[in-house]
């Protein structure tokens, strides 16, 4: 996905055009977590700093933080995850998105990894 960037904490960041990005967790992350049973999403309107923990994904076993890749304001959260958290497992980069962030500095996205870079990162962690 050429319009998608990745973080070392296993979030994907998709540029939707303009200054809004959609954020979720990668397929690698959902596989490592296992069955997702609850997602705690940030409130719309919340201002978050870069690398700030702003969502939590809970599997049967444990809770894990999800970080904001860049500073910005939360403009939408995926309400469907409240009803069906397993969307994160079934479609992590599609219907299992977490929230949308309005970012101040789109140029900062260039600091994140592209898909090939993320794949190399995951392999280096194995």
């Amino acid at each position: 996905m050429p319009d998608t960037k990745y973080t070392t904490s296993h979030e994907w960041v998709r540029m939707d055009g303009g200054d809004v990005v959609t954020i979720g967790i990668t397929d690698h992350a959902q596989t490592a977590l296992g069955d997702v049973v609850f997602v705690d999403l940030p409130e719309v309107g919340r201002e978050v700093g870069g690398n700030e923990a702003c969502a939590v994904v809970e599997s049967v076993k444990a809770a894990s933080d999800v970080y904001a890749p860049l500073p910005g304001k939360v403009v939408e959260a995926n309400a469907r995850l409240s009803e069906d958290p397993s969307l994160v497992n079934r479609d992590p980069t599609g219907e299992g998105w977490f929230y949308k962030l309005e970012i101040a500095d789109a140029a900062a996205l260039d600091e994140l990894m592209d898909e090939a870079g993320y794949q190399r990162f995951v392999e280096s962690q194995a």
Binding site: G34, D35, V37, D40, V56, V60, K61, A62
Partner: protein
């Protein structure tokens, strides 16, 4: 937890776990499967529907021989060990001099000897404690060359029957030396899931053959430590180090039933003073089941408050998601004033108050053999 995987011990089934695609993680110094490719949720549900095979070979096994072995153990536990009949097993606690819990364990009477199974993380301490308490003529032998398998679920008994016809006749908490698929084994009708089933001790060298024979049975599938934890929490069973430890007493933990009737007249076990006082006056806190509203789990160490605010009344000691329950579940300690079933409480999860109620345990009914 930071132990490198290459210095971890392995159980006799390590090769099988790898072949089955198990995800191995460090646990009590061992590389243990937390789950297999099916995942914790599916493995949990498979145990409640059919029969699941768990490797619990990391646990400590030992046998005690000699006149006075039962009396020697009674110096360490409030359980009635002398009254344990041949072919019977009992859940028991090792208690500390101040009335805390040193460990929980199983003790069985095999006729010519006692057989004990203790927690993996406590086996060195437990065995040292027991050995130090033995009089002349009583010996303890550790059994590191034995594996321990748990075969648990509503179909476990019918499934295992072709391999060991005599097992179906074992009552709950009965134990027998038998052969399963030709492998000499010590099998008890017990477990840690709330389901019917067996815990099976077998020689390490034959453990893999036995495990493969059990996995080939109809309705059988492998399950890891993740499912073992969610199953035991739904069943309201304590995890040593989380729900019980050296600070919690048997009375606070709701484990008074492990104190033998005769022992309550003798009061000669470690910590008897505290147990006796708490039985007379009530403990200051109690272990309870906690049901959070909604879907959000509250994990261990979550503070518990009354709805009107104020200081914490206790904390969650185990918490997660119950796959069979279909929602979050927890247990923990709360002040006795707030321990009655139905009491409304709040769990402080990440700075927000999550409403919860005190509920009776277990979360899912036990289905032991009767």
């Amino acid at each position: 937890m930071a132990t490198p995987v290459d210095v971890l011990l392995e159980t006799p089934l390590a090769g099988l776990h790898r072949r089955l695609g198990g995800r191995l993680v460090p646990f009590a110094g061992y590389a243990m499967p937390v789950h297999y490719p099916a995942g914790i949720l599916a493995e949990h549900l498979a145990c409640r529907a059919g029969a699941a095979l768990f490797d619990v070979s990391h646990m400590g096994q030992a046998e005690l021989r000699g006149e006075g072995a039962a009396a020697a153990l009674e110096a360490l536990t409030p359980a009635d060990v002398r009254g344990l009949k041949p072919g019977r097993q009992r859940y028991a606690l090792l208690t500390t001099i101040t009335g805390g819990i040193f460990d929980d364990f199983m003790v069985a009477n095999l006729g010519d000897r006692l057989f004990v199974v203790v927690n993996a993380a406590r086996k060195e301490e437990d065995f040292a404690l027991i050995e130090a308490a033995l009089p002349a003529g009583v010996t303890m032998r550790r059994l590191p060359d034995r594996a321990l398998l748990a075969f648990q679920g509503p179909r476990a008994t019918e499934a295992i029957a072709p391999l060991a016809p005599d097992l179906a006749a074992l009552p709950f908490m009965g134990i027998a030396e038998t052969r399963i698929a030709g492998v000499p084994a010590i099998a008890s009708r017990s477990g840690y899931t709330g389901e019917d089933g067996f815990e099976i001790s077998a020689p390490a060298a034959e453990a893999e053959r036995l495990a493969e024979a059990l996995l080939a049975l109809p309705g059988a599938s492998p399950a890891g430590l993740g499912a073992r934890d969610s199953l035991r929490l739904e069943a309201g069973l304590c995890l040593y180090g989380s729900d019980i430890d050296e600070t919690t007493s048997p009375v606070e933990a709701g484990l008074t039933w492990t104190v033998g009737k005769r022992r309550r007249t003798e009061w000669n076990f470690p910590g008897a003073e505290r147990v006796r006082g708490e039985l007379s006056n009530g403990p200051s806190r109690l272990r309870v089941g906690l049901k959070p509203e909604g879907r959000q789990p509250a994990r261990a160490h979550t503070p518990v408050h009354a709805p009107d605010g104020g200081p914490a009344l206790g904390e969650v000691t185990s918490g997660g998601f119950g796959p069979s329950l279909g929602g979050p579940m927890a247990m923990g300690y709360v002040a006795r004033s707030h321990a009655a079933d139905g009491t409304s409480l709040e769990l402080m999860v990440r700075g927000r108050a999550l409403p919860a109620r005190v509920v009776p345990l277990p979360f899912t009914p036990h289905r032991y053999a009767r």
